[in-house]
């Protein structure tokens, strides 16, 4: 099967790299024979030719015939570099240069001409065993572009709101979204870039992702196959391969989130979108919920899409900010989403997350989630995190009323979670810091109200948390950037319980560990996956702390939130980004999120180092995800703001992660959410 198929399906991967189709070009027969044998030994399919012209001819005949080209530099009929250029331009295949001359200048020339690698003769088999990496790498970057373009087009129609986040999420969004969001521009600009690339890449905007999640949820995550998802999504220009690869990422994301989900869910609930921070977290959580709810998948997708698209994830920072915006007011109103998204987009990429959060909120309310979410996100983003706080908890509640559903809908879990988080959590998250304490109450509201409650009170927490994270680690939290700043607002509002500052400090750790945001991470994970890692940590930190403090307050809301967020909050995801370090933290955070943490725990988590948190959050995220579901539905018991924290963290982390990690899944954008 073609490489792409392998990659997209995710199947047949086991065999890989065997079967890699290589074209070897060398005028020296001895070398060529040797090369051919070596490649065969690696179980590759080898075609050889001693003439560059012949090689070009073969390549032009069938572009899909080969995965990789290895060419000698010195050839009589054509310069190796020239061939390299032509292949790169026309076929966009990875080319490896080969030469007996290992002069660094020549090597440099090869690389600048676009060679993926430069081998010096005599070539050893060990070197050839690794060449497949170049192929994968190249293929991975390609589809993204393609998706982007496709997504954008589609998303535009669906809901403008989502646009904002999208842009943020994905610099590749080629589409010009005519969202109401202002920050769509970011997207637009970014969209331009991809356009320049040779192949149209699909950018998984939030909208698109939302659709995707919705489709997946509809089919059931187990039964979701690319073809059917594609059909359900009914998006023009989207290929089965695009969907397949996206699905693969999504699955990974889900796994990550599931651990953090619980935490996130809480967070989301708690956050109620108040703070952008929370929002981020919340969204994550919300996303987590989304996952859980995935059945409903409405929200999720929408939200997630936002998130993902936002590419904000990477920026979580921004999302956080957006969250603020999102939560408070926009809950129901698309504005929120928008603001969020806007803010997010402004932030960078967080928007999507936020927007999603907002959306999630709306979702919860049963509002046409996607739209709302989008709107929320958008509005949220736009307004900036602060708005979140403004968000009515009540609204959040309402929204959350059906968080599950809403969230679920969003296959984008990320989005939804984010949204969810935002919605409920925003409130909470917003408080960030506040969540800790308030979260319990707020959280409760988030569930339905818990978000609000948590959010409200937690908002302070969140804020503090967020802020903390942001403050302490301005860099770390928001590593994605705005995120931190966003967060700050939250925290500043009142560190209710935020002693997050310490968290923030931790943020520093975050940077490395990103996992901190565990609960948030869940949601953040989503985002973080992107690599916010660094940032995430900071974010995560905060949340973690908060949880400790807030413990309960979050519990309520956050739990709910987290539940949803779990799915969303890539806390685990964040962890991912954070990688090891964060992992730990994430997990921890996740724990918090689940409400288990109880104040101390969260703090510990954070303290422990992002790493731990990361991992924890991850775990928690996953848990939260599940918890979220339950919670949300049942106005869960005060879980302790862990979820919120987790969410926050997740969010933070996500952002961090986002930047850090490259979420394959497209949740990169989410990083906003999770990685915050």
């Amino acid at each position: 099967m073609t490489l792409e198929k392998i990659m997209s399906d995710g199947e047949g991967y086991d065999d890989f790299p065997a079967g890699l189709r290589v074209l070897a070009v060398d005028d020296n027969p001895t070398c060529l024979k040797l090369l051919e044998t070596l490649l065969r030994k690696c179980q590759y399919h080898v075609t050889t030719t001693s003439q560059a012209r012949m090689a070009l001819k073969m390549l032009r005949e069938n572009k899909d015939r080969f995965d990789l080209v290895i060419s000698d530099v010195h050839m009589p009929d054509m310069d190796g570099f020239k061939l390299l250029e032509l292949v790169g331009l026309e076929m966009d295949l990875p080319v490896i240069m080969l030469s007996a001359n290992g002069d660094p200048k020549l090597v440099m020339k090869g690389i600048t001409h676009g060679a993926c690698d430069y081998l010096v003769k005599p070539v050893r088999i060990e070197e050839l065993r690794n060449i497949w990496q170049h192929v994968i790498r190249k293929k991975r970057t390609e589809p993204k572009n393609q998706n982007g373009s496709a997504d954008q087009g589609n998303d535009n129609q669906s809901s403008g709101e989502g646009n904002g986040p999208q842009a943020d999420r994905n610099g590749k969004c080629n589409r010009k979204r005519k969202d109401e969001e202002d920050f769509s521009e970011d997207n637009e600009n970014e969209n331009e870039d991809p356009a320049a690339s040779k192949k149209p890449r699909v950018v998984w905007s939030i909208e698109l992702h939302r659709k995707f999640v919705a489709a997946v949820n509809q089919l059931g995550i187990e039964k979701a196959v690319p073809k059917r998802i594609l059909d359900l999504m009914n998006v023009e220009g989207l290929t089965r391969e695009n969907v397949a690869s996206h699905l693969q990422k999504y699955r990974l994301y889900l796994k990550r989130i599931s651990s953090v989900a619980s935490q996130q869910a809480n967070m989301v609930a708690a956050l109620g979108v108040k703070d952008s921070h929370f929002m981020r977290i919340a969204p994550f959580e919300g996303l987590g919920d989304f996952r859980t709810f995935s059945g409903q998948g409405r929200l999720g997708s929408a939200a997630l899409s936002h998130y993902t698209t936002g590419g904000m994830f990477g920026r979580l920072n921004t999302p956080n900010v957006n969250l603020h915006n999102l939560s408070p007011s926009t809950l129901i109103q698309p504005n929120h989403g928008q603001s969020l998204t806007n803010s997010i987009s402004a932030l960078g990429k967080v928007h999507p997350a936020l927007a999603s959060t907002n959306q999630s909120q709306s979702l919860f309310q049963g509002i046409p989630s996607s739209l709302e979410l989008d709107q929320l996100q958008q509005s949220k983003c736009g307004t900036g995190m602060s708005s979140f706080n403004a968000m009515d908890n009540s609204r959040l509640r309402n929204k959350f009323s059906d968080p599950g559903a809403a969230i679920n809908s969003s296959s984008n879990i990320f989005n939804s979670s984010t949204n969810m988080m935002l919605q409920g959590s925003y409130q909470q998250t917003m408080s960030g810091g506040g969540f800790g304490d308030q979260s319990s109450q707020n959280m409760a509201s988030l569930n339905m109200d818990s978000f609000n409650v948590g959010v409200n009170s937690s908002s302070s927490l969140l804020d503090s948390a967020t802020i903390q994270s942001s403050t302490t680690q301005p860099a770390s939290l928001l590593s994605t950037e705005p995120f931190h700043s966003q967060q700050l607002p939250m925290s500043t509002t009142g560190n209710n319980g935020f002693s997050n500052d310490p968290y923030l400090q931790k943020n520093a750790i975050d940077t490395s560990s990103t996992t901190m945001s565990l609960p948030l991470e869940d949601s953040r994970e989503m985002h973080y996956q992107q690599g916010l890692v660094g940032d995430v940590q900071n974010i995560s930190h905060i949340p973690s702390q908060r949880w400790g403090e807030q413990g309960q307050s979050y519990g309520h809301g956050s739990t709910a939130t987290f539940g949803s967020l779990n799915a969303h909050v890539p806390v685990s995801g964040l962890s991912h980004s954070l990688d090891q370090d964060s992992g730990i933290i994430n997990e921890k955070m996740g724990v918090f999120m689940n409400g288990r943490l109880g104040g101390g725990a969260s703090t510990l988590m954070l303290q422990n180092g992002n790493e731990k948190l990361a991992s924890e959050s991850r775990a928690m995220a996953n848990d939260s995800f599940l918890l979220e579901q339950q919670k949300i539905q049942s106005v869960f018991a005060p879980r302790s703001y862990d979820p919120l924290d987790a969410m926050m963290n997740a969010m933070i982390k996500r952002e961090q992660d986002e930047t850090i990690a490259n979420c394959d899944f497209g949740f990169d954008d989410y990083s906003f959410e999770s990685g915050m």
């Binding site: 005028d27 020296n28 027969p29 001895t30 070398c31 024979k33 040797l34 044998t37 070596l38 065969r40 030994k41 000698d72 010195h74 030469s99 007996a100 001359n101 003769k121 005599p122 050893r124 088999i125």
Partner: protein, 145 residues
Amino acid sequence: MHRQLANMKQTLFDQGYLDEQFIQLEELQDDANPNFVEEVVTLYYRDSARLIQNIEQALEKSPLDFSKLECLMHQFKGSSSSIGAKRVKSECTQFKEHCRVGNADGCKRTFQQLKKEYATLRKKVEVYFQFARQIGPVEKACRSK
């Protein structure tokens, strides 16, 4: 017998005629490619014979076209290194250096040296292979013995 073969090979290594690359070649030899090493070496002979002829012709020209010479030698070096012809390879490198600085005499001198090394290598390797063929399929284990 096997030991003898191994000794022969070891001598070749010790004397610097062959290097690790040759071992790599032998490693590539398996059931699917039972005579791989010989095949490659034969290819090398053919290839290098052609190159040597070209270089000789080029060296007779006056003035010398150093870039062309360098190019030819580069090829020679490539194939020599592919089979692990250590000494020949170093002569190639030297030749190229002379070309680079435009040392015509140096080129010619080195080239003579190179031809000698090449001839010696070829002889020794031939003996080696003949012996190996007599013994039977040479497994990798032989090498380690």
